[in-house]
C-alpha cells in the first residue's frame, strides 16, 4: 500500500477540508484577527488533518500489507482468510465479513462437486465390477462351446476387458486416495500374466515374445504394474512393422541404485517430434492418426500410475527402427524391513 496513492484516493475529502479551511481563513481575515493567531490556527489545522489521514492510512496499511504478503506466500491462496486478524476499522470489518461469506459459500460449492465426483468414481468402480460379470460369462460360454465359435470372439471380448481396465485405472490414478499396496513382487510372474493376456494376439501376428528378467523381485503394486506393462505390450503389438521378423523383448538392467525394465520392440517407432508428448493426455500423434484409432489415454494413465508408484518411465525410439520403454524401479532396503 502506497501513501501517495492513498492521498490521491482521499482527494475529495482533502478538497472539502481545504475549502473549509479557506472559508475559516476568510472569516478570520474579515474579523481582522491578528496574523499570529491565523498562523497558529493554520498550523494546528494542518497538523490535525495530517494526523487524521496518517492514522487512517496506517491502520489500513497494516491490514492490507498483511493480506497482500500472505496471498503472495500461500500456494493455496483461497486459505488466506484463515491467517488474517479481523481489521480494526469499519470498512475493513465489512470487507472482512463479506470475504468470509464468499469463502464459505465457495467451500460449500467445492464440497458439492467433491461429493459428486466421489459418487461418480464410486459408481464407476461398482459399474466395472458389474460389467466384469457378463464379460466373465461370455469368456466361459465361449470356452464351453469352443468347437463352434471361432477365435475372433475371444479376441473381441479381450479388447472389451482391456478397455474396461483402462477406465478402472484411470479413475484410480485420478483418485487422491491411496488404493495401491507396495510390496515385493516377482517380475517374471507379472510379465507371465501379461503374456497370457496377449497370447492369442502375439501368436496371431507371429511376434517373437522374449523375456529375460531372471528371478528378480521388485517393489511395486503387482496389479498396477501388470496394467502398466499390459498397456505398453498392447502398443508394441499394435504398432508392428508389416515385414521382417517381429520382436518384443523384455529384459532388465541393474545397477546399485535401480532396476531398469526395458520393453523393447522393433516396430514402426515414434517420430522424434512426437516422442516428448506421448505421455500427454489425449495426445495421439502421427502413429495414432495413421495406424489405428487411438484415444491417447493409455500412456497418459501409465505415466500417472508410474508417478504414484514412484517408478520412472522413459521412452526411447527411432522412427522405423525400434521403441524402447524403460521403467525404473528404485532399490530401497527401507521397504524390506520386517520381511
Amino acid at each position: 500500500m502506497k501513501f501517495g496513492k492513498y492521498l490521491l484516493d482521499k482527494f475529495i475529502e482533502i478538497l472539502i477540508v481545504f475549502l473549509g479551511y479557506i472559508i475559516i481563513l476568510m472569516m478570520l481575515l474579515a474579523f481582522k484577527v491578528s496574523t499570529d493567531v491565523v498562523i497558529g490556527i493554520s498550523v494546528v489545522f494542518v497538523l490535525i488533518c495530517f494526523s487524521v489521514i496518517l492514522t487512517g492510512y496506517l491502520k489500513r496499511r497494516k491490514f492490507y500489507n498483511h493480506l497482500i504478503s500472505n496471498v503472495e506466500k500461500l500456494d493455496k491462496k483461497y486459505l488466506v482468510l484463515e491467517m488474517l486478524n479481523k481489521p480494526s476499522f469499519y470498512d475493513g470489518e465489512v470487507f472482512y465479513e463479506v470475504l468470509y461469506d464468499i469463502n464459505k459459500s465457495m467451500n460449500e460449492n467445492v464440497k458439492k462437486y467433491e461429493i459428486r465426483l466421489n459418487d461418480f468414481k464410486e459408481y464407476i468402480e461398482l459399474w466395472i465390477h458389474e460389467i466384469k460379470l457378463p464379460i466373465a460369462s461370455l469368456t466361459l460360454m465361449n470356452h464351453n462351446q469352443k468347437s463352434k465359435i471361432d477365435k475372433r470372439y475371444v479376441e473381441q471380448i479381450r479388447r472389451i476387458d482391456n478397455y474396461v481396465d483402462q477406465i478402472l485405472y484411470f479413475v484410480r490414478s485420478e483418485n487422491a486416495e491411496k488404493d495401491y499396496l507396495i510390496k515385493e513382487a516377482n517380475l517374471k510372474k507379472i510379465i507371465n500374466n501379461v503374456a497370457m493376456r496377449n497370447k492369442d494376439d502375439l501368436l496371431e501376428k507371429n511376434i517373437n515374445f522374449m523375456v529375460d528378467v531372471g528371478n528378480i523381485r521388485i517393489l511395486t503394486d503387482s496389479k498396477w504394474l501388470e496394467f502398466i506393462i499390459n498397456q505398453i505390450v498392447s502398443n508394441c503389438i499394435k504398432y508392428t512393422k508389416d515385414n521382417g521378423e517381429k520382436i518384443i523383448k523384455l529384459y532388465i538392467e541393474e545397477d546399485s541404485k535401480q532396476i531398469n525394465l526395458h520393453i523393447y520392440d522393433n516396430g514402426i517407432g515414434i517420430p522424434s517430434k512426437d516422442i516428448k508428448r506421448v505421455f500427454e493426455k489425449t495426445f495421439t500423434g502421427e502413429n495414432g492418426r495413421t495406424m489405428s484409432k487411438s484415444t491417447g489415454m493409455g500412456l497418459y494413465i501409465v505415466k500417472k500410475l508410474c508417478d504414484k508408484l514412484g517408478h520412472k518411465i522413459t521412452i526411447d525410439s527411432i522412427k522405423g527402427e525400434y521403441t524402447d520403454v524403460i521403467i525404473s524401479f528404485a532399490k530401497n532396503d527401507f521397504y524390506k524391513i520386517g520381511n
Binding site: 460379470l133 466373465a136 460369462s137 499396496l181 510390496k183 507371465n192 517373437n208
Partner: protein, 220 residues
C-alpha cells in the same frame, strides 16, 4: 472323481462354470441360495471350494475366515475386484489361490489341477505304461534306459499324458507352455512336437502321438 463346490451368485457364470468343470471331469455342486451359506457349505462334501467374494448380504472374505476355523479344504477366490489389497486380505484369511474375473478358463483349470496335484503330495512321478516320467528332472526311464527331454518337450509330454486318450488342442498345449513362461510360437510348437516324436521313436516308443488334423494331438 474330485468334487468342486461353487459359490457364485451370478447365475450365468455359475452355469457356465459348472459346464466347464464337468467337461473337465470334475463333479460339481452348486449353491443357489445364500441365506445360511456357512451351514450349507458344511453340509456338503467336496474337495475344493470356488468362492465369489461379492455375495448378496454377505462378505465372502468373512465367510472364508469363518470357514477356515472349521475346515482346511482348499479354497480358490473368484472375484471381479482388481486390487492388490483384496488379494492380500483373501490370502491372509486362508485362500489357496485368487483369480480375477474374467479369467482365462484354461488357466482356471490349470490352477485347480495344481491345487489337487499339491494335495496328492506325491513325488511328482508319472508313469506311461512301463515308463517312469520325472517332469522336474526332464527324464523318462524305461528299465535301465534314460531319455532326456527339454523343458518344452516335457511340458508337452506331461500335458498329453494327463489327458491320455483325449485330444489335446494346439491351443491348450500353447497355453500350458506359455503358463510355464515358455513363449514359443506356432512353428516352434510344431518343431517341438516332431522332436518329441523322434526322441520317443528312438526310445522304442512307436507312434505314441497321433495327430488329429484341425483338432490337436492325442497320446495313445
Amino acid at each position: 472323481m474330485r468334487t468342486i463346490l461353487i459359490i457364485e451368485d451370478d447365475k450365468a457364470i455359475r452355469d457356465e462354470l459348472k459346464q466347464l468343470l464337468e467337461t473337465s471331469g470334475y463333479k460339481v455342486i452348486l449353491l443357489e441360495k445364500f441365506d445360511n451359506t456357512l451351514e450349507d457349505i458344511l453340509k456338503n462334501k467336496f474337495d475344493l471350494l470356488l468362492l465369489d467374494i461379492n455375495l448378496p448380504n454377505l462378505n465372502g472374505e468373512m465367510l472364508l475366515k469363518e470357514y477356515r476355523k472349521v475346515s482346511n479344504t482348499p479354497v480358490i477366490i473368484l472375484t471381479s475386484r482388481v486390487g492388490e489389497a483384496d488379494e492380500v486380505l483373501s490370502m491372509s484369511y486362508g485362500a489357496d489361490d485368487y483369480i480375477t474375473k474374467p479369467y482365462n478358463p484354461t488357466i482356471l483349470l490349470l490352477r485347480i489341477a495344481n491345487i489337487f496335484k499339491r494335495m496328492e503330495n506325491n513325488t511328482n512321478v508319472f508313469s506311461y505304461d512301463d515308463i517312469k516320467v520325472y517332469p522336474s528332472k526332464g527324464l523318462l526311464i524305461k528299465d535301465d534306459k534314460e531319455l532326456d527331454l527339454t523343458k518344452n518337450e516335457m511340458i508337452i509330454f506331461t500335458c498329453l499324458l494327463n489327458h491320455r486318450g483325449d485330444i489335446v488342442s494346439r491351443d491348450e498345449l500353447m497355453t500350458e507352455l506359455w503358463n510355464n513362461e515358455e513363449y514359443v510360437n506356432e512353428n516352434a510348437l510344431t518343431v517341438n512336437i516332431s522332436r518329441l516324436r523322434a526322441k520317443l521313436e528312438d526310445f522304442d516308443v512307436l507312434k505314441a502321438i497321433e495327430t488329429r488334423k484341425g483338432q490337436g494331438y492325442k497320446l495313445l
